[in-house]
């Protein structure tokens, strides 16, 4: 009975929320906008909430007692499956360009960029436990470093890549210094502000960055000095290998560049985790006071986390600039930081595999959802759905947000929660997520 009442209340809340959101639609009429009512669509959504709430409540009543052991069994299953998922993902990533589909390769490149950003931020947020809401700042620093060095001094991508990384790391350390004494919410606010400051500087420093108009003509990367040029002249890939010049060659090359960069990020993070530095980061997340009592220089350790995390953000930024050949401050808004942070949190703080899966779901899934919804819209010819079918793709973000909420309710510590110890005397056993601290900055 209480379940029914609870579900009814949920439906009421949903009605209040979705009546204006779904139930009202404006169409342009002869004399301006016309308001149109859509009671059926609203009823469908509210009904779904009512049923969903009932199902959740009935399930909870049944599984509460058995939840602890089943969670452990599930964790073991997930960790076992993880052993197969990683190589599978790797093979899929390497094989993707052989599909020959430009759409998939472009999407793969985008997903890999976010995976790399996620892995970079994972060092700061997942390992060191420092909540950074301004990660996009380092992405921007990397992108603009490369773009400015390339357009002003004519340097190539491979020369600029390490420089962009170093400059971003430098920015990371610069951010690190003032925020060292801050924790938790305060740290988050200052990093958020830092991200905005960088963007505002990029917009307003017109003489250097060309302001909101951005920088155009950023050179593409070369393969051992061979350019991917469409004219097929001497010194280009097409000329060297004696093939027809095609855009797809460059697309595939860029894909493998970002795959290599992402794997480098992963490799360095995994190595560092087994080193004293990585262990110190994790110890810092667990207990900063204890770290100090053991002679660990907390300041320097935090700065290295900021610096190394920022460096990978800078690499990704340089790649972004060379891929787009055009950058403007618009590409480095807060939503990027939020997306990357969501990837890290959804994946499970500190988990490399989780971050990769989350990036695939969040970036790749969102794109797939768009296609799926347009497909679904085309199939719905019934007059019942008239009006809503053509707009279905617009509900993409709503559905996606809902999926995220459901995900965090079901697995609050992320897709791959729990922590794998960096070293073992006898046998490595994963640590239950409940014991692992999330860090308070």
């Amino acid at each position: 009975m209480t379940a029914l009442r609870d579900a009814f209340l949920s439906a009421l809340v949903a009605l209040g929320l979705f009546a204006p959101l779904v139930g009202l639609v404006t169409t342009s009429g002869e004399h301006g906008l016309l308001l149109e009512l859509r009671p059926i669509a609203t009823a469908v959504v509210v009904g779904l909430v009512f049923l969903g709430r009932l199902i959740v409540l009935s399930r909870r009543g049944r599984t509460r007692t058995a939840s602890a052991p089943s969670n452990r069994a599930l964790a073991e299953k997930v960790s076992k499956a993880g052993k197969y998922v990683t190589p599978l993902l790797l093979v899929a990533a390497v094989a993707l360009p052989f599909t020959g589909s430009r759409y998939y390769i472009d999407l793969g490149t985008l997903v890999l960029t976010y995976i790399m950003l996620g892995w970079g931020l994972n060092i700061v947020v997942g390992l060191a436990g420092l909540l950074d809401l301004g990660y996009v700042a380092f992405y921007a620093v990397g992108a603009y470093s490369f773009a400015l060095l390339a357009t002003n001094f004519g340097l190539g991508f491979w020369t600029c890549l390490p420089l962009a990384g170093i400059l971003a790391a430098f920015a990371g350390v610069m951010l690190g210094f003032p925020v060292l004494r801050l924790r938790g919410d305060y740290l988050a606010i200052v990093t958020l502000a830092f991200g905005e400051i960088i963007r505002v500087v990029l917009i307003n420093w017109v003489s250097l960055t060309n302001g909101p108009n951005g920088i155009t003509g950023i050179p593409r990367p070369t393969l051992f000095g061979l350019a991917f040029s469409m004219d097929g002249g001497p010194g280009t890939i097409a000329d060297f290998f004696n093939v027809e010049p095609a855009v797809i060659q460059r697309i595939v090359f860029l894909y493998y560049v970002i795959l290599g960069l992402a794997l480098l990020t992963n490799w360095v993070s995994l190595r560092l985790r087994r080193m004293p530095l990585g262990r110190a980061w994790e110890a810092l997340r667990e207990d900063e006071v204890a770290c100090r009592s053991l002679g660990i220089n907390v300041r320097n350790t935090k700065l290295t986390a900021f610096g190394i995390g920022a460096m990978f953000g800078g690499f990704a930024g340089a790649f972004f600039a060379t891929r787009q050949a055009f950058i403007s401050p618009e590409s480095f808004t807060f939503i990027e930081s939020a997306t990357v942070l969501a990837i890290v949190v959804l994946g499970g703080l500190g988990s490399q595999l989780g971050v990769a899966l989350a990036a695939i779901v969040m970036v790749g899934g969102l794109e797939t959802l768009r296609d799926f919804l347009s497909f679904l819209g085309d199939q719905m010819n019934s007059p019942l759905f008239s009006g809503i079918a053509s707009e279905l793709p617009l509900y993409r973000m709503l559905i996606f947000g809902l999926a995220l909420v459901v995900m965090m309710v079901l697995r609050p510590r992320g897709l791959v929660s729990g922590r794998t110890p960096s070293v073992a005397l006898h046998k490595v056993r994963d640590i239950a997520p409940g014991l692992v601290a999330r860090g308070r900055g």
């Binding site: 009592s293 002679g295 660990i296």
Partner: protein, 266 residues
Amino acid sequence: MLSVSGLTMQFGGLRAVDGLSFQAKAGDITAVIGPNGAGKTTVFNCITGFYRPSGGSIGLTHPGGASHKLHTMPGHRIASAAKVARTFQNIRLFAGMTVLENLLVAQHNTLMAATGFGVLAVLGLGRYRAAEAAGIEKAKFWLDAIGLTARADDPAGALPYGAQRRLEIARAMCIDPVLLCLDEPAAGLNPRESDELNKLLMRIRDGGCSLLLIEHDMGVVMRISDHIVVLDHGRKISDGTPAEIRNDPAVIAAYLGEGEEDEVPA
């Protein structure tokens, strides 16, 4: 060894420690006792660099002859350079890391030096592998000493309370301290665990490390300490061997209390 002179710690209007002076000799177990709020933990926090004293000085002389002014050093240097280790009243382990990892984090500075600023070790070069093996050996030694070898790969947060206390002590010992400061190590231990703790502390002292401990369990204090300092309201009210302290009227009045015959039955 450790010489505290005129130590004063002021928190706003509250003077938690007031002109405290005492000495702790090398190779001794020195206990600091006193009623709740007497300023014991504050003294510890001053010695281990968590507080900067408002006045006075704290000097530490190593058996080798090197001397450090602890009241001027930054907190982490007191552990890494002056080799003063500590444990906490409320256990502060790295709960989400394994027992072995806890002991390796404690050897951070030694291991970090072997990684060549991290760059060489990431590439698999340099002498890090050997250094890590040595670190694990040291961890094994202490695991054996506290009887936790079998649980080396369990998360520290999953250990029973007594084991967590012992692990915290072992972790502190992994920095190779000359002075180990223990803040109520016997709190919450049952008599058997308390006995084990005594043995462990004696063993640490016999290994050449001096100990400074805060403790309320008079059984532990009287049995193992060589020297006792009694605090009340931030001031030292007595200082001497266990036998002297037990019979000091000032200490009895402030802290130990009279014998049972004077107590009103509840």
